[in-house]
Protein backbone atom coordinates (compact mmCIF):
# COMPACT_ATOMS: atom_id res chain seq x y z
CA UNK A 1 0.00 0.00 0.00
CA UNK A 2 1.45 3.36 -1.02
CA UNK A 3 1.32 6.49 1.12
CA UNK A 4 1.34 10.10 -0.05
CA UNK A 5 3.75 12.63 1.52
CA UNK A 6 0.74 13.89 3.50
CA UNK A 7 0.05 10.55 5.20
CA UNK A 8 1.31 11.63 8.64
CA UNK A 9 -0.48 14.98 8.30
CA UNK A 10 -3.80 13.23 7.62
CA UNK A 11 -3.40 11.11 10.72
CA UNK A 12 -2.43 14.12 12.83
CA UNK A 13 -5.50 16.00 11.56
CA UNK A 14 -7.88 13.15 12.34
CA UNK A 15 -8.31 11.68 8.86
CA UNK A 16 -9.87 8.23 8.62
CA UNK A 17 -7.62 6.35 6.19
CA UNK A 18 -8.83 3.63 3.86
CA UNK A 19 -7.25 1.70 0.97
CA UNK A 20 -8.03 3.30 -2.39
CA UNK A 21 -6.51 2.21 -5.71
CA UNK A 22 -3.41 0.91 -3.93
CA UNK A 23 -3.03 3.98 -1.71
CA UNK A 24 -3.90 4.72 1.90
CA UNK A 25 -6.07 7.80 1.56
CA UNK A 26 -8.32 9.78 3.91
CA UNK A 27 -11.98 8.97 3.24
CA UNK A 28 -13.08 11.66 5.69
CA UNK A 29 -12.02 13.74 8.65
CA UNK A 30 -14.94 14.57 10.97
CA UNK A 31 -17.88 14.47 8.57
CA UNK A 32 -18.22 13.90 4.83
CA UNK A 33 -21.26 16.16 4.63
CA UNK A 34 -19.61 19.01 6.52
CA UNK A 35 -16.58 18.75 4.26
CA UNK A 36 -18.80 18.83 1.18
CA UNK A 37 -20.63 21.89 2.54
CA UNK A 38 -17.31 23.64 3.22
CA UNK A 39 -16.36 23.24 -0.44
CA UNK A 40 -19.73 24.56 -1.62
CA UNK A 41 -19.73 27.50 0.80
CA UNK A 42 -16.10 28.42 1.53
CA UNK A 43 -13.05 26.28 0.72
CA UNK A 44 -11.83 22.72 1.13
CA UNK A 45 -8.47 21.10 0.53
CA UNK A 46 -7.91 17.59 -0.81
CA UNK A 47 -4.81 15.41 -1.08
CA UNK A 48 -4.94 14.05 -4.63
CA UNK A 49 -1.33 12.86 -4.71
CA UNK A 50 -2.52 9.33 -5.49
CA UNK A 51 -3.34 10.48 -9.02
CA UNK A 52 -0.63 9.89 -11.59
CA UNK A 53 1.76 12.56 -12.81
CA UNK A 54 3.40 11.77 -16.12
CA UNK A 55 5.86 14.05 -17.88
CA UNK A 56 5.87 13.59 -21.63
CA UNK A 57 8.60 15.51 -23.36
CA UNK A 58 10.61 15.68 -26.54
CA UNK A 59 10.08 17.09 -29.99
CA UNK A 60 7.66 14.25 -30.73
CA UNK A 61 5.63 14.67 -27.53
CA UNK A 62 2.74 16.58 -29.07
CA UNK A 63 2.58 14.09 -31.93
CA UNK A 64 2.47 11.08 -29.61
CA UNK A 65 -0.27 12.67 -27.50
CA UNK A 66 -2.26 13.56 -30.63
CA UNK A 67 -2.26 9.88 -31.56
CA UNK A 68 -3.63 8.65 -28.19
CA UNK A 69 -5.66 11.50 -26.64
CA UNK A 70 -9.19 12.35 -27.77
CA UNK A 71 -8.18 15.97 -28.36
CA UNK A 72 -5.38 17.64 -30.26
CA UNK A 73 -2.45 18.22 -27.89
CA UNK A 74 -0.47 19.96 -30.61
CA UNK A 75 -3.20 22.61 -30.80
CA UNK A 76 -2.88 23.47 -27.11
CA UNK A 77 -1.13 26.73 -26.39
CA UNK A 78 1.56 26.81 -23.73
CA UNK A 79 0.04 26.88 -20.26
CA UNK A 80 -3.30 25.54 -21.44
CA UNK A 81 -4.95 22.38 -20.13
CA UNK A 82 -7.67 20.18 -21.57
CA UNK A 83 -9.88 17.38 -20.29
CA UNK A 84 -9.95 14.34 -22.56
CA UNK A 85 -10.30 10.58 -22.66
CA UNK A 86 -7.82 7.94 -23.75
CA UNK A 87 -9.59 5.32 -25.85
CA UNK A 88 -8.46 1.94 -27.10
CA UNK A 89 -8.79 0.81 -30.72
CA UNK A 90 -12.42 -0.22 -30.16
CA UNK A 91 -13.32 3.17 -28.67
CA UNK A 92 -13.43 1.85 -25.08
CA UNK A 93 -12.26 4.29 -22.43
CA UNK A 94 -8.89 3.36 -20.87
CA UNK A 95 -8.88 6.50 -18.73
CA UNK A 96 -9.94 10.11 -18.57
CA UNK A 97 -7.33 12.71 -17.73
CA UNK A 98 -6.26 16.31 -18.00
CA UNK A 99 -3.34 17.16 -20.24
CA UNK A 100 -1.32 20.34 -19.53
CA UNK A 101 1.06 21.91 -21.99
CA UNK A 102 3.98 23.28 -20.00
CA UNK A 103 6.17 24.28 -22.91
CA UNK A 104 6.53 23.66 -26.60
CA UNK A 105 7.90 20.17 -26.03
CA UNK A 106 6.77 19.27 -22.49
CA UNK A 107 3.38 18.05 -21.31
CA UNK A 108 1.99 16.81 -18.02
CA UNK A 109 -0.69 14.13 -18.00
CA UNK A 110 -2.75 13.36 -14.86
CA UNK A 111 -4.28 9.87 -15.10
CA UNK A 112 -6.39 8.25 -12.38
CA UNK A 113 -4.44 6.37 -9.70
CA UNK A 114 -5.74 2.97 -10.73
CA UNK A 115 -5.03 3.62 -14.43
CA UNK A 116 -1.58 5.20 -14.28
CA UNK A 117 0.20 1.99 -15.32
CA UNK A 118 -2.30 1.28 -18.11
CA UNK A 119 -1.83 4.80 -19.49
CA UNK A 120 1.98 4.50 -19.39
CA UNK A 121 1.75 1.20 -21.25
CA UNK A 122 -0.66 2.62 -23.81
CA UNK A 123 1.63 5.59 -24.47
CA UNK A 124 4.66 3.29 -24.73
CA UNK A 125 2.81 1.05 -27.16
CA UNK A 126 2.17 3.91 -29.60
CA UNK A 127 5.53 5.65 -29.17
CA UNK A 128 7.39 5.21 -32.46
CA UNK A 129 10.62 3.23 -32.04
CA UNK A 130 12.72 6.11 -33.41
CA UNK A 131 10.95 8.73 -31.30
CA UNK A 132 12.80 11.05 -28.91
CA UNK A 133 9.75 11.21 -26.61
CA UNK A 134 10.39 10.48 -22.97
CA UNK A 135 7.56 9.29 -20.74
CA UNK A 136 8.57 9.77 -17.11
CA UNK A 137 6.39 8.81 -14.17
CA UNK A 138 7.03 11.57 -11.62
CA UNK A 139 4.12 10.61 -9.35
CA UNK A 140 6.34 10.06 -6.29
CA UNK A 141 8.61 13.09 -6.85
CA UNK A 142 5.65 15.44 -6.71
CA UNK A 143 2.53 15.76 -4.61
CA UNK A 144 -0.78 17.22 -5.71
CA UNK A 145 -3.43 18.99 -3.70
CA UNK A 146 -6.75 20.49 -4.76
CA UNK A 147 -8.07 23.69 -3.17
CA UNK A 148 -11.72 24.11 -4.10
CA UNK A 149 -14.62 26.36 -3.22
CA UNK A 150 -15.80 29.96 -3.62
CA UNK A 151 -13.00 31.21 -1.31
CA UNK A 152 -10.27 29.00 -2.82
CA UNK A 153 -8.86 31.45 -5.34
CA UNK A 154 -8.61 34.25 -2.77
CA UNK A 155 -6.85 31.99 -0.28
CA UNK A 156 -4.32 30.77 -2.85
CA UNK A 157 -3.84 34.32 -4.08
CA UNK A 158 -2.84 35.44 -0.57
CA UNK A 159 -0.21 32.73 -0.27
CA UNK A 160 1.47 32.91 -3.65
CA UNK A 161 3.59 35.47 -5.48
CA UNK A 162 1.31 35.89 -8.51
CA UNK A 163 -2.18 37.22 -9.09
CA UNK A 164 -3.94 33.86 -8.81
CA UNK A 165 -7.30 35.33 -9.82
CA UNK A 166 -5.82 36.18 -13.22
CA UNK A 167 -5.10 32.51 -13.97
CA UNK A 168 -7.88 31.50 -16.35
CA UNK A 169 -9.84 28.24 -16.09
CA UNK A 170 -7.95 25.32 -17.60
CA UNK A 171 -4.62 27.09 -17.58
CA UNK A 172 -1.51 26.36 -15.57
CA UNK A 173 1.27 28.66 -14.38
CA UNK A 174 4.32 28.44 -12.18
CA UNK A 175 4.31 30.37 -8.93
CA UNK A 176 6.07 30.51 -5.59
CA UNK A 177 4.07 29.54 -2.52
CA UNK A 178 6.30 30.76 0.29
CA UNK A 179 9.73 29.32 -0.52
CA UNK A 180 8.33 26.53 -2.70
CA UNK A 181 7.96 26.43 -6.43
CA UNK A 182 4.56 25.14 -7.52
CA UNK A 183 2.46 24.58 -10.62
CA UNK A 184 -0.99 26.07 -10.18
CA UNK A 185 -3.77 24.87 -12.46
CA UNK A 186 -7.26 26.39 -12.42
CA UNK A 187 -8.91 22.97 -12.57
CA UNK A 188 -10.77 20.66 -10.22
CA UNK A 189 -13.25 17.86 -9.70
CA UNK A 190 -15.88 19.38 -7.43
CA UNK A 191 -17.92 21.78 -9.55
CA UNK A 192 -16.38 24.73 -7.70
CA UNK A 193 -13.72 27.24 -8.64
CA UNK A 194 -10.22 26.61 -7.38
CA UNK A 195 -6.79 25.24 -8.08
CA UNK A 196 -4.97 21.98 -8.33
CA UNK A 197 -1.41 22.50 -7.12
CA UNK A 198 1.58 20.33 -7.96
CA UNK A 199 4.65 20.73 -5.73
CA UNK A 200 7.74 18.72 -4.84
CA UNK A 201 6.86 15.97 -2.35
CA UNK A 202 9.07 17.40 0.39
CA UNK A 203 7.30 20.79 0.19
CA UNK A 204 3.69 19.74 0.30
CA UNK A 205 3.22 19.43 4.06
CA UNK A 206 4.15 23.09 4.61
CA UNK A 207 1.82 24.22 1.86
CA UNK A 208 -1.03 22.04 3.13
CA UNK A 209 -0.66 23.42 6.67
CA UNK A 210 -0.51 27.00 5.39
CA UNK A 211 -3.69 26.48 3.37
CA UNK A 212 -5.48 24.90 6.34
CA UNK A 213 -4.34 27.82 8.50
CA UNK A 214 -5.77 30.16 5.89
CA UNK A 215 -9.19 28.54 6.27
CA UNK A 216 -9.30 25.53 3.93
CA UNK A 217 -11.17 22.61 5.50
CA UNK A 218 -9.35 19.25 5.05
CA UNK A 219 -11.59 17.00 2.95
CA UNK A 220 -11.41 13.30 2.16
CA UNK A 221 -12.31 11.15 -0.80
CA UNK A 222 -15.85 10.75 0.52
CA UNK A 223 -16.60 14.46 0.08
CA UNK A 224 -14.78 14.47 -3.24
CA UNK A 225 -17.07 11.71 -4.52
CA UNK A 226 -20.22 13.51 -3.31
CA UNK A 227 -19.11 16.78 -4.91
CA UNK A 228 -18.05 15.38 -8.26
CA UNK A 229 -21.33 13.45 -8.55
CA UNK A 230 -23.36 16.59 -7.85
CA UNK A 231 -21.32 18.35 -10.53
CA UNK A 232 -22.11 15.53 -12.99
CA UNK A 233 -18.43 14.60 -13.35
CA UNK A 234 -17.79 10.98 -14.23
CA UNK A 235 -15.53 8.60 -12.34
CA UNK A 236 -13.51 6.18 -14.42
CA UNK A 237 -14.03 2.60 -13.26
CA UNK A 238 -17.61 3.42 -12.23
CA UNK A 239 -19.19 5.55 -14.94
CA UNK A 240 -16.89 4.63 -17.80
CA UNK A 241 -14.42 1.91 -18.65
CA UNK A 242 -13.14 -0.01 -21.68
CA UNK A 243 -16.63 -1.52 -22.18
CA UNK A 244 -18.10 1.95 -22.73
CA UNK A 245 -17.30 4.57 -25.35
CA UNK A 246 -17.25 8.35 -24.90
CA UNK A 247 -20.40 8.88 -26.96
CA UNK A 248 -22.60 6.76 -24.71
CA UNK A 249 -20.84 8.34 -21.71
CA UNK A 250 -21.98 11.74 -23.00
CA UNK A 251 -18.42 13.00 -23.52
CA UNK A 252 -18.88 13.90 -27.21
CA UNK A 253 -17.56 17.40 -26.77
CA UNK A 254 -14.18 16.11 -25.58
CA UNK A 255 -13.67 13.84 -28.59
CA UNK A 256 -12.20 14.83 -31.96
CA UNK A 257 -12.18 11.52 -33.80
CA UNK A 258 -11.46 12.61 -37.39
CA UNK A 259 -7.75 13.26 -37.06
CA UNK A 260 -5.02 11.57 -39.05
CA UNK A 261 -3.02 9.09 -36.97
CA UNK A 262 -5.46 9.01 -34.03
CA UNK A 263 -5.43 5.36 -32.98
CA UNK A 264 -9.02 5.30 -31.70
CA UNK A 265 -10.28 7.52 -34.53
CA UNK A 266 -11.69 4.89 -36.92
CA UNK A 267 -13.65 3.13 -34.15
CA UNK A 268 -14.91 6.41 -32.68
CA UNK A 269 -16.05 7.73 -36.08
CA UNK A 270 -17.97 4.51 -36.66
CA UNK A 271 -19.60 4.78 -33.22
CA UNK A 272 -20.38 8.47 -33.77
CA UNK A 273 -22.16 7.71 -37.04
CA UNK A 274 -24.22 4.83 -35.69
CA UNK A 275 -27.16 5.31 -33.37
CA UNK A 276 -26.44 4.60 -29.70
CA UNK A 277 -28.24 1.74 -27.99
CA UNK A 278 -27.55 2.97 -24.44
CA UNK A 279 -26.59 6.22 -22.80
CA UNK A 280 -25.32 7.45 -19.46
CA UNK A 281 -28.02 9.49 -17.74
CA UNK A 282 -28.35 11.38 -14.52
CA UNK A 283 -31.37 10.72 -12.32
CA UNK A 284 -32.89 12.15 -9.18
CA UNK A 285 -34.60 9.72 -6.80
CA UNK A 286 -38.12 11.02 -6.18
CA UNK A 287 -39.18 8.25 -3.76
CA UNK A 288 -37.63 7.34 -0.40
CA UNK A 289 -34.22 5.70 -0.63
CA UNK A 290 -30.66 6.07 -1.76
CA UNK A 291 -29.43 4.80 -5.11
CA UNK A 292 -25.99 3.23 -5.01
CA UNK A 293 -23.41 1.81 -7.40
CA UNK A 294 -24.50 -1.56 -8.78
CA UNK A 295 -28.26 -1.28 -8.19
CA UNK A 296 -30.50 -2.23 -11.12
CA UNK A 297 -32.35 0.49 -13.02
CA UNK A 298 -35.86 -0.65 -13.90
CA UNK A 299 -38.78 0.44 -16.00
CA UNK A 300 -41.55 -1.32 -14.12
CA UNK A 301 -40.62 -5.00 -14.14
CA UNK A 302 -38.06 -4.64 -16.92
CA UNK A 303 -34.38 -4.18 -16.09
CA UNK A 304 -33.02 -1.35 -18.24
CA UNK A 305 -29.61 -0.63 -16.76
CA UNK A 306 -27.28 -0.35 -13.80
CA UNK A 307 -26.48 2.51 -11.43
CA UNK A 308 -22.80 3.35 -11.95
CA UNK A 309 -22.60 6.06 -9.27
CA UNK A 310 -25.17 6.98 -6.68
CA UNK A 311 -25.56 8.53 -3.30
CA UNK A 312 -27.05 11.23 -1.16
CA UNK A 313 -26.67 14.79 -2.42
CA UNK A 314 -26.41 17.25 0.47
CA UNK A 315 -26.83 20.18 -1.90
CA UNK A 316 -30.02 18.82 -3.53
CA UNK A 317 -31.11 17.06 -0.30
CA UNK A 318 -32.11 13.92 -2.14
CA UNK A 319 -30.47 10.91 -3.71
CA UNK A 320 -28.94 11.30 -7.15
CA UNK A 321 -27.13 8.96 -9.47
CA UNK A 322 -25.73 8.09 -12.86
CA UNK A 323 -26.29 4.99 -14.90
CA UNK A 324 -26.49 3.54 -18.38
CA UNK A 325 -29.99 2.92 -19.69
CA UNK A 326 -31.44 1.85 -23.01
CA UNK A 327 -31.67 4.85 -25.31
CA UNK A 328 -35.50 4.81 -25.22
CA UNK A 329 -35.35 5.65 -21.49
CA UNK A 330 -32.64 8.32 -21.72
CA UNK A 331 -34.78 11.43 -22.30
CA UNK A 332 -34.85 13.93 -19.42
CA UNK A 333 -38.17 13.61 -17.65
CA UNK A 334 -38.44 9.85 -18.16
CA UNK A 335 -39.66 8.08 -15.02
CA UNK A 336 -37.57 5.06 -14.06
CA UNK A 337 -37.24 2.94 -10.93
CA UNK A 338 -34.20 2.01 -8.91
CA UNK A 339 -34.17 -1.44 -7.35
CA UNK A 340 -33.07 -0.53 -3.82
CA UNK A 341 -32.59 -3.91 -2.17
CA UNK A 342 -35.76 -5.40 -3.71
CA UNK A 343 -37.80 -2.24 -3.32
CA UNK A 344 -38.64 -0.34 -6.53
CA UNK A 345 -38.23 3.37 -5.87
CA UNK A 346 -39.22 6.04 -8.43
CA UNK A 347 -36.60 8.26 -10.01
CA UNK A 348 -36.58 10.78 -12.81
CA UNK A 349 -34.02 11.18 -15.59
CA UNK A 350 -32.58 14.71 -15.45
CA UNK A 351 -30.14 16.90 -17.33
CA UNK A 352 -26.56 16.97 -16.08
CA UNK A 353 -25.02 18.48 -14.06
CA UNK A 354 -27.21 18.17 -10.98
CA UNK A 355 -25.45 21.20 -9.52
CA UNK A 356 -23.63 24.07 -11.11
CA UNK A 357 -22.17 26.97 -9.23
CA UNK A 358 -23.28 30.50 -9.78
CA UNK A 359 -20.60 32.24 -11.77
CA UNK A 360 -19.69 35.84 -11.21
CA UNK A 361 -19.39 37.91 -14.42
Amino acid sequence: MQRTPLYETHIAQGGRLVPFAGWEMPIQYASILEEARAVRNSAGIFDVSHMGRLEISGSGAAGLLDSVLSVNASGLREGRARYNVICDETGGIIDDCIVYRRSDSAFMLIPNASNTEAVIQWLAQWRPADSDVEIVNVTSEFAMIAVQGPDAVGIVDNLCDIDASAVRPFTTVQAMIGPSQAWLARTGYTGEDGFEIIVASDRVVDIWLALVDAGCVPCGLGARDVLRLEAGLLLHGNDMDTDHNPYEAGLDRFVKPDREGYVAGPALMRIRDESLSRKLVGFVVTGRGIARHGYAIMSGAESIGIVTSGGHSPTLETSIGLGYVGIEHAEPGAVIQIDIRDRLVDAKVTELPFYSRRRSE
Partner: protein, 128 residues
Protein backbone atom coordinates in the same frame (compact mmCIF):
# COMPACT_ATOMS: atom_id res chain seq x y z
CA UNK B 1 -20.46 8.42 27.62
CA UNK B 2 -23.16 5.72 27.47
CA UNK B 3 -26.11 6.70 29.69
CA UNK B 4 -26.47 4.43 32.70
CA UNK B 5 -30.29 4.38 32.57
CA UNK B 6 -30.24 2.44 29.27
CA UNK B 7 -29.66 -1.21 28.37
CA UNK B 8 -27.52 -2.19 25.40
CA UNK B 9 -27.07 -4.94 22.84
CA UNK B 10 -23.83 -6.09 21.25
CA UNK B 11 -25.26 -4.85 17.94
CA UNK B 12 -25.04 -1.31 19.38
CA UNK B 13 -28.71 -0.68 20.03
CA UNK B 14 -29.99 0.82 23.25
CA UNK B 15 -33.25 0.19 25.09
CA UNK B 16 -34.92 2.60 27.48
CA UNK B 17 -37.33 0.65 29.68
CA UNK B 18 -40.23 3.05 30.20
CA UNK B 19 -42.54 0.70 32.12
CA UNK B 20 -42.99 -3.00 32.71
CA UNK B 21 -44.06 -3.45 29.09
CA UNK B 22 -42.95 -0.37 27.21
CA UNK B 23 -39.53 0.38 25.76
CA UNK B 24 -37.89 2.91 23.49
CA UNK B 25 -35.16 1.73 21.07
CA UNK B 26 -32.34 3.51 19.28
CA UNK B 27 -28.72 3.07 18.24
CA UNK B 28 -25.74 4.08 20.33
CA UNK B 29 -23.40 6.99 19.84
CA UNK B 30 -20.66 4.49 18.99
CA UNK B 31 -22.84 3.08 16.18
CA UNK B 32 -23.72 6.56 14.90
CA UNK B 33 -20.08 7.63 14.89
CA UNK B 34 -18.97 4.47 13.13
CA UNK B 35 -21.59 4.98 10.43
CA UNK B 36 -20.65 8.62 9.87
CA UNK B 37 -23.22 11.07 8.50
CA UNK B 38 -26.59 9.30 8.49
CA UNK B 39 -28.60 10.27 5.41
CA UNK B 40 -31.47 7.77 5.40
CA UNK B 41 -33.47 5.87 8.00
CA UNK B 42 -36.27 3.43 7.25
CA UNK B 43 -38.35 2.19 10.19
CA UNK B 44 -41.10 -0.45 10.42
CA UNK B 45 -44.79 0.38 10.30
CA UNK B 46 -46.65 1.03 13.55
CA UNK B 47 -48.77 -1.98 14.50
CA UNK B 48 -46.31 -4.54 13.20
CA UNK B 49 -44.42 -7.07 15.26
CA UNK B 50 -40.69 -7.31 15.55
CA UNK B 51 -38.68 -10.20 16.99
CA UNK B 52 -35.50 -10.03 19.01
CA UNK B 53 -32.40 -9.81 16.77
CA UNK B 54 -34.65 -9.49 13.71
CA UNK B 55 -34.19 -6.82 11.08
CA UNK B 56 -36.51 -3.92 11.84
CA UNK B 57 -35.27 -1.29 9.41
CA UNK B 58 -32.39 0.19 7.49
CA UNK B 59 -29.96 2.98 8.13
CA UNK B 60 -27.67 4.51 5.53
CA UNK B 61 -24.72 6.80 5.91
CA UNK B 62 -23.03 8.59 3.02
CA UNK B 63 -20.83 5.55 2.45
CA UNK B 64 -22.66 2.47 3.75
CA UNK B 65 -25.98 0.68 4.17
CA UNK B 66 -26.70 -1.15 7.44
CA UNK B 67 -29.64 -3.12 8.76
CA UNK B 68 -31.25 -2.14 12.03
CA UNK B 69 -31.95 -5.01 14.43
CA UNK B 70 -34.38 -4.98 17.28
CA UNK B 71 -32.82 -5.86 20.63
CA UNK B 72 -36.19 -7.07 21.97
CA UNK B 73 -39.43 -8.62 20.70
CA UNK B 74 -42.67 -6.69 20.70
CA UNK B 75 -45.37 -4.77 18.92
CA UNK B 76 -44.43 -1.41 17.42
CA UNK B 77 -46.56 1.30 18.96
CA UNK B 78 -44.72 4.31 17.60
CA UNK B 79 -41.89 5.18 15.23
CA UNK B 80 -39.85 8.36 15.12
CA UNK B 81 -41.10 10.16 12.01
CA UNK B 82 -38.69 13.05 12.71
CA UNK B 83 -35.69 10.80 12.34
CA UNK B 84 -37.00 9.54 9.00
CA UNK B 85 -37.41 13.12 7.79
CA UNK B 86 -34.17 14.33 9.32
CA UNK B 87 -31.71 11.42 9.63
CA UNK B 88 -28.96 13.75 10.91
CA UNK B 89 -30.74 13.50 14.31
CA UNK B 90 -29.10 10.10 14.71
CA UNK B 91 -25.66 11.75 14.67
CA UNK B 92 -26.70 14.83 16.61
CA UNK B 93 -28.61 13.10 19.37
CA UNK B 94 -28.34 9.29 19.22
CA UNK B 95 -29.61 8.70 22.77
CA UNK B 96 -32.46 11.20 22.69
CA UNK B 97 -34.03 12.90 19.63
CA UNK B 98 -32.54 10.19 17.40
CA UNK B 99 -34.61 7.35 18.91
CA UNK B 100 -36.09 4.86 16.44
CA UNK B 101 -39.15 2.96 17.68
CA UNK B 102 -41.31 2.42 20.76
CA UNK B 103 -42.47 -1.14 21.43
CA UNK B 104 -44.81 -3.00 23.70
CA UNK B 105 -42.61 -5.80 24.98
CA UNK B 106 -43.88 -9.31 24.31
CA UNK B 107 -41.19 -10.93 26.46
CA UNK B 108 -39.80 -8.56 29.12
CA UNK B 109 -37.42 -11.30 30.32
CA UNK B 110 -35.34 -10.53 27.20
CA UNK B 111 -34.26 -7.32 28.94
CA UNK B 112 -32.27 -9.35 31.47
CA UNK B 113 -29.92 -10.54 28.76
CA UNK B 114 -29.03 -7.05 27.59
CA UNK B 115 -25.90 -5.26 28.77
CA UNK B 116 -25.67 -2.56 31.38
CA UNK B 117 -23.89 0.68 30.45
CA UNK B 118 -20.82 -0.57 32.31
CA UNK B 119 -20.89 -3.92 30.48
CA UNK B 120 -21.38 -2.16 27.13
CA UNK B 121 -18.42 0.16 27.85
CA UNK B 122 -16.24 -2.92 28.50
CA UNK B 123 -17.61 -4.58 25.36
CA UNK B 124 -16.59 -1.51 23.31
CA UNK B 125 -13.18 -1.37 24.96
CA UNK B 126 -12.60 -5.02 24.01
CA UNK B 127 -13.44 -4.23 20.35
CA UNK B 128 -10.39 -2.01 19.88
Amino acid sequence: MNPTNLKYSEEHEWVLVESATKALIGITEFAAESLGDVVFVDLPEVGGEVGQAEKMGEIESVKAVSDLYSPVSGKITERNEQVMDNPQLVNDSPFDAGWMIRVELSDPSQLDKLLSAEQYDSFLAAQD
